[in-house]
């Protein structure tokens, strides 16, 4: 069976699937499919779900906030900010929400930590300034 290679790129890194049989995605005008030997194409994917089938007949569901699809020499590359991958499409929405909440909470805790660092830095600088001022005065 004819296969092609799929490479997913986002801000976390790269993930490769070597034996993809079919890819179905959506752009602004509707859905489209790609199989091995497709002509050279560049497509802007819209927000939402795309899917691909590997040689073991498993559909993988991919949800992404738009992205750029590039197909050349039997290699499909999808570049996006962030993608979420799952094999059960009924659960993917929940997984997506959970993952996004986790990311939000990580960002939130990082912000809180930065604010704390900033506060202690200001406090320390104030103390130092006070110490220096009293030192000069005495």
């Amino acid at each position: 069976m004819n296969c092609f290679r799929l490479r997913l790129l986002d801000n976390r890194g790269t993930e490769d699937f070597d034996t993809v049989i079919e890819f179905i995605g959506s752009e602004s005008n509707g859905s489209f499919g790609i199989r091995a030997g497709h002509i050279h194409s560049v497509i802007i994917l819209r927000y939402g779900l795309a899917r691909f089938k590997t040689h073991d007949d498993i559909w993988h569901y991919l949800t992404l906030p738009s992205g750029v699809l590039h197909f050349k020499d039997n290699q499909l590359t999808i570049t996006t900010v962030r993608y979420f991958l799952g094999e059960n499409r009924q659960l993917i929405c929940q997984q997506l929400a959970d993952e996004m909440n986790r990311l939000d909470s990580e960002v939130h805790s990082t912000k809180v930590m930065l604010t704390e660092i900033e506060h202690s830095l200001v406090l320390r600088m104030t103390k130092l300034a006070e110490t220096n001022a009293s030192g000069i005065g005495s």
Binding site: Y47, G48, P65, Q90, C93, A97
Partner: protein
């Protein structure tokens, strides 16, 4: 709408669309096209074999049906293989 909500909403919409598509029963037109394709894939090699075999037999001296029968059998094999491949792929 935030990027997060938009993505979740659009994904849910796409999943719903896929589910509906999977639940949709086969249409008569679809069955007709599918069945017609299968029939053609099976019959065309047999008919072609029969015609070609008949033509070859007319070139022989005397009465002969050897080419016709053999090419019909070959067409039968090719037709069955075509159908098998089609069913595997669809």
């Amino acid at each position: 709408m935030t990027y997060k909500n938009k993505l979740i909403k659009q994904t849910a919409k796409d999943i719903e669309r896929l589910d509906k598509k999977d639940q949709k029963p086969f249409s008569w037109a679809g069955i007709l096209v599918y069945g017609g394709t299968l029939g053609l894939l099976f019959v065309v090699p047999i008919v072609a074999g029969a015609y070609f075999g008949r033509w070859l037999d007319t070139l022989q001296t005397g009465y002969s049906v050897g080419w016709t029968i053999n090419l019909i059998l070959l067409g039968l094999g090719v037709g069955a293989y075509n159908v098998l491949r089609f069913l595997q792929e669809h």
